[in-house]
């Protein structure tokens, strides 16, 4: 553990305690049934901390076994985070069936575009393949959350405070991870220690935000809204779009007006 430095060790311990506390809060406030994937994600991050601790104390920070444990657990944590984000999307938009059916494809597409973008831009060396893949997934997660919140805003769907905090925390942490991975790819040798500290601090801040958000029981989800007959949409929306087009054309008229014959 000596290779990590005191600050990192203390931060690690504080983070682990915060993770345990958040898990306790989730269980005590009976939020596990509402956020099973998020609870699993927090559990996985705690398990990752424990396994890494064992690996590093056993064979050192720079050993091959620590590296393998680090990346293996990171893959699992990223997958768990993906499920937590999917769960969040379902909570926020899922009740509005029509919007949800359309939005989920758009949200997935935005994530896929971000992933491809990151992989194309970032992939240069095989040795950095894992970092690049992580960068891509983190960018995709951030893009998915931002798309989700944009959809919610567009359709005037209110996002309850706990969900909002979860979304902010997940998005901010992904953004920090993208920045970290980007810098790590370029200055690998001299940056590992700082990368660890910065990433851990960001995660610690997110844990505090989530604990604050989930300290109360999340109110039971509101009943599904009474949906309209499908024909209403098909009748009204084309008409509304037509009216919007007509209003749009009025603006064009401002430029097309001819001078009156005076």
């Amino acid at each position: 553990m000596a290779d990590l430095g005191h600050f990192t060790v203390w931060l690690w311990a504080a983070t682990a305690m915060c993770q345990v506390f958040l898990l306790v809060v989730l269980i005590a406030r009976q939020n596990v049934s509402i956020h099973p994937a998020f609870t699993f994600y927090v559990f996985m991050t705690l398990a990752q901390s424990g396994l890494l601790f064992l690996a590093i104390t056993g064979s050192g920070f720079w050993s091959a076994s620590s590296w393998k444990v680090g990346w293996f657990t990171q893959c699992l944590v990223l997958a768990a985070r993906g499920f937590a984000v999917a769960e969040l999307c379902k909570h926020i938009l899922g009740r509005f069936r029509g919007v949800w059916l359309m939005a989920r494809w758009t949200i997935c597409a935005s994530g896929l575009i971000a992933l491809c973008y990151a992989l194309i831009v970032g992939f240069r060396k095989w040795t950095l393949m894992l970092t690049t893949a992580e960068l891509g997934i983190e960018l995709a997660i951030a893009a998915v959350i931002v798309s989700l919140l944009l959809f919610a805003r567009y359709y005037e769907i209110e996002v309850d405070q706990p969900f909002r905090s979860l979304a902010i925390g997940l998005c901010l942490y992904s953004c920090v991870a993208v920045l970290n991975d980007t810098v790590l790819e370029h200055w690998l040798n001299g940056y590992v220690s700082l990368w660890n500290k910065f990433g851990m601090l960001a995660f610690f801040a997110c844990l505090l935000l989530w604990t604050q958000a989930l300290r109360h029981s999340v109110p039971q989800a509101a009943a599904d809204p009474l949906l309209l007959d499908g024909s209403v949409y098909l009748q009204v929306i084309p008409e509304v779009n037509g009216r919007l087009r007509a209003l749009n054309e009025q603006l064009i008229q401002f430029w097309r007006l001819e001078e009156p014959r005076t």
Partner: protein, 192 residues
């Protein structure tokens, strides 16, 4: 500086800006049944003011004024016409926003929505607000000159007829929309 290093930073900056935009408090008051039902009322108001606007924008009146009135009065008439054009533009925007809200409420409560309609509305919205900004700037900067605005007369007359017909139909729809909005407010979709 390597451009490849900057691209992820730019992507993150873009995402954070979008995040802040998506989370910022709404300026508009929440949609409510009376707001949506106000569509029909808005149509009536339009019809009431069309006559005044038509008169104010009359090319004949302006020509007469330019020929016979002192320059101070002509300038004042210019200013008033410009003000009316701006008010008219504001009204167009209000109508546009109100229709958008109705469409969103209906879409949110529909069991199935067509992506083509939704994306078309998004495209129309972006187009409208871009043009709205351009026309506003043109009017404030004096790029759209008063002789051009004189043609608003014709435009308003045409719109008047279309609006009266459209609002009659939309009045019926507004009643449906009002019901929808109360459903939204009562069953989970908080419009605040």
């Amino acid at each position: 500086v390597n451009i490849l290093l900057l691209l992820p930073f730019a992507a993150v900056a873009l995402l954070l800006a979008a995040l802040v935009w998506a989370l910022r408090p709404r300026r508009n008051s929440p949609a409510n049944p009376s707001d949506l039902a106000g569509l029909e009322e808005s149509g009536r108001q339009h019809a009431t003011y069309f006559g005044v606007i038509r008169q104010a924008m009359s090319a004949e009146d302006f020509a007469f004024l330019a020929a016979h009135a002192p320059s101070g009065l002509v300038r004042r008439a210019h200013r008033d016409r410009k003000r009316i054009a701006i008010l008219y533009l504001e009204q167009l925007r209000t109508d546009f926003q109100r229709l958008l809200r109705v469409a969103r409420v209906i879409a949110a409560l529909s069991p199935q929505v067509a992506a083509s309609h939704e994306f078309e509305r998004m495209r129309l919205t972006m187009q409208f607000f871009w043009r709205y900004r351009m026309v506003s700037l043109g009017l404030y900067a004096g790029l759209l000159l008063l002789p051009q605005l004189g043609g608003l007369n014709q435009m308003v007359s045409e719109l008047s007829l279309r609006m009266e017909l459209a609002m009659k139909e939309l009045g019926e729809r507004a009643a449906v929309a009002a019901e929808l909005a109360s459903t939204l407010n009562g069953r989970g979709l908080d419009m605040a």
